[in-house]
Amino acid sequence: GAGVSQSPSNKVTEKGKDVELRCDPISGHTALYWYRQSLGQGLEFLIYFQGNSAPDKSGLPSDRFSAERTGGSVSTLTIQRTQQEDSAVYLCASSLRVAGGEQFFGPGTRLTVL
């Protein structure tokens, strides 16, 4: 009965380093989404996965960002060569179905790039 979980909850890194953020969706949810939330701002769509279909990467801000979803469950968002402007809260959400399904959000990972 657990909700969406994300790890780590906080990540501090130095500029130029790579980071990996993990998302465990609700079991049985076929769709998984990543969003970015900058301080005091709304959520910015990054990418979503639906089953084994090709992901929609249209929201990724640069080629330094990539994401994978293994086995239709856990997802990892990777940011290479981090920049200070990457500092934000990265939120993951999952939904039972793709079209019209309520998205359940995890608590987010707060990334700080020094």
């Binding site: 969406v4 769709a31 989404y33 969003y35 005091g40 701002q41 709304g42 959520l43 910015e44 769509f45 979503y48 639906q50 279909s53 090709a54 929609d56 249209s58 929201g59 939120l91 959400a93 939904s95 793709v98 079209a99 019209g100 399904g101 309520e102 998205q103 359940f104 959000f105 995890g106 608590p107 987010g108």
Partner: protein, 115 residues
């Protein structure tokens, strides 16, 4: 740029009063709208949604109104409680690949309930 925005960044109301949070959207083709509540340190939590073929939908203490003519969305919270203090986001659904939801969020309104 964002197609969804909020009129007021902050709103303070007295406990027990009703509150109204407003939202404007720009994509007239959007067919689905959602309100989320986000408490400090937590992810957004679904409150209520509405499809474009409706102009009003009610939940428990919450009502969403949709005016497609002026592309305006509002969230009414009745008899506010301290636990209602949070940031409220409206989101507009843009269909992505295979009909998936691509939510475009507004910047949010911080609602504070004063005791």
């Amino acid at each position: 740029g964002e197609s969804v925005g909020l009129h007021l960044p902050t709103l303070s109301v007295q406990e027990g009063d009703n509150s109204i949070i407003n939202c404007a959207y720009s994509n007239s083709a959007s067919d689905y709208f959602i309100w989320y509540k986000q408490e400090s340190g937590k992810g957004p939590q679904f409150i209520i949604d509405i499809r474009s073929n409706m102009d009003k939908r009610q939940g428990q203490r919450v009502t969403v109104l949709l005016n497609k003519t002026v592309k305006h969305l509002s969230l009414q919270i009745a008899a506010t409680q301290p636990g209602d203090s949070a940031v409220y986001f409206c989101a507009e659904n843009l269909r992505g690949l295979q009909g998936a939801q691509k939510l475009v969020f507004g910047q949010g309104t911080r609602l504070t309930i004063n005791p």
